[in-house]
């Protein structure tokens, strides 16, 4: 198999894994949200990569262009980006409330307080 033909996808897999790792391994709630953000953005990068046609151009119709990249993944990802920012803002609102209620946003400290 030609390495270059799947290079993009493999890099994207690495990005997803890094984001996913931050979500699971970090105890700071804001850091978790950041990790989630990276994870989602990496999925967006994957989608957009699948829509690319080498030699194509942006899908804005024009009489002197023959080959366009696939517009459908773009549409889907526009929606997904909005979903991502919506999730982030709701998550941050929760974090602010948690901070007000517990005085901390570290998972360990919160768990300790909850047990008491």
């Amino acid at each position: 198999m030609d390495i270059l033909s799947h290079f993009n996808y493999w890099v994207v897999v690495v990005l997803m894994m890094l984001g996913f790792f931050i979500v699971i391994a970090r105890g700071n709630l804001i850091k978790k949200l950041i990790g989630l953000n990276i994870f989602q953005t990496s999925v967006f990068i994957f989608y957009i990569s699948t829509g690319k046609v080498i030699g194509g151009s942006a899908p804005v119709l024009s009489s002197d262009i023959q080959l366009y990249s696939n517009p459908l993944p773009h549409v889907l990802i526009l929606t997904a980006i909005v979903v991502g920012i919506a999730t982030t803002s709701v998550g941050l609102a929760l974090v602010l409330r948690i901070y007000r209620a517990y005085g901390s946003i570290e998972q360990d400290e919160i768990l300790e307080q909850s047990r008491q």
Partner: protein, 330 residues
């Protein structure tokens, strides 16, 4: 040449993500997130996804770092060192997921091939016929706002839900709504004179630019969502420099909250109009006699709905967060 840029951008993305894994401290993490957003936006440009790049630049490098910074302003930037009790578990889980992903990529069509299945089935119709069917050169806009308009309604509802959720979560006491401006927050000893003067000249142009993006989306990158984000950024910039009470006097929280619902209703009612005339929901053909004209009117109206909702929800979220800062942070 394109390939080289591609590889450089991807390696920068990996570096940024790796730095995010290693770095402790929230402020640095937020900056890296912002860089990550900007890099992915640049990557999207290389991939011909200009609309997505625009949005990602506004969201990934703009709005989400802003919200993160507002939160950190309340909470503090400290990140505990020993946090993250189960790194081994995380490595295991991530390893399995990664392996599954790699397995999935093995049978994928090669990157960038014009004969990949995804480019042969549904998309060609958009590229070939959307010009005739909607009269709009930007295919992304016509797919977004006409062929898959229902998804976009869902998207608007998602952002509206986020606004409702943030108010619901952060509401306190007997007050209903996002902001309750009280004390004077602007530090009179240390006014941001330079920032205020410069931004005062720029904000009108930002708002103007938002309108340009709103109505130019048919012909180039842009549209309701991006316009809404830019409009909200102008307002938020004013709020950051002059304080929450000042901006709340100009743009009152209850009004913005109503506007966030109004945008959704504009969108929904457009769809219902078609139903009343016996066509499927969101079928624009009833809006005018000429089908192309009808499509254009429909797309313009719903993009307006998107813009109104996005701008007002972002402002509402900013109010709610900034209000936390002013009651908690000081």
């Amino acid at each position: 040449m394109e390939l080289a840029v591609n590889i450089v951008l991807l390696s920068l993305l990996v570096t940024t993500a790796a730095a995010l894994v290693l770095v402790r401290g929230l402020l640095a993490s937020i900056m890296l997130t912002s860089i990550y957003g900007l890099l992915s936006a640049s990557f999207f440009v290389i991939m011909d996804a200009v609309d997505v790049a625009f949005t990602e630049a506004a969201v990934g490098a703009g709005v989400s770092p802003l919200l993160l910074l507002l939160s950190v302003a309340v909470i503090g930037r400290h990140e505990a060192r020993n946090a993250g009790a189960r790194p081994l578990f995380a490595v295991l889980l991530v390893g399995i997921t990664g392996a599954l992903l790699i397995v999935g990529t093995l049978d994928m069509p090669a990157f960038g091939r014009a004969d990949a299945p995804a480019h042969l089935h549904v998309a060609p119709r958009y590229l070939l016929l959307s010009g005739e069917e909607t009269g709009i050169p930007n295919v992304v806009t016509s797919v977004l706002a006409s062929y898959r308009a229902y998804d976009t309604l869902g998207e608007v509802i998602v952002i509206f839900t986020a606004g409702v959720a943030v108010i619901l979560i952060l509401a306190s006491g007997t007050h209903r709504g996002s902001a309750r401006p009280h004390s004077a927050p602007v530090d009179t000893k240390d006014p941001h004179t330079i920032l205020q003067v410069v931004s005062k000249t720029m904000i009108p142009f930002m708002l103007l630019f938002a309108f340009y993006v709103q109505f130019h989306g048919d012909y180039g990158p842009g549209g309701g969502f991006q316009a809404g984000v830019i409009f909200a950024s102008g307002i938020i910039l004013y709020g950051l420099l002059y304080g929450l009470p000042a901006i709340c006097r100009v743009i009152r929280p209850p009004v913005v909250e109503l506007c966030s619902a109004l945008g959704v209703l504009v969108y929904g009612v457009t769809g219902i109009l078609s139903m009343l005339q016996g066509r499927p929901f969101l079928d624009y053909s009833v809006l005018a006699d000429d089908p192309i004209r009808a499509q254009q009117i429909g797309i313009m109206v719903i993009e307006l709905g998107v813009g109104i909702t996005v701008a007002s929800v972002l402002i509402v979220i900013y109010y709610a967060f900034a209000n936390q800062f002013e009651t908690n942070g000081n």
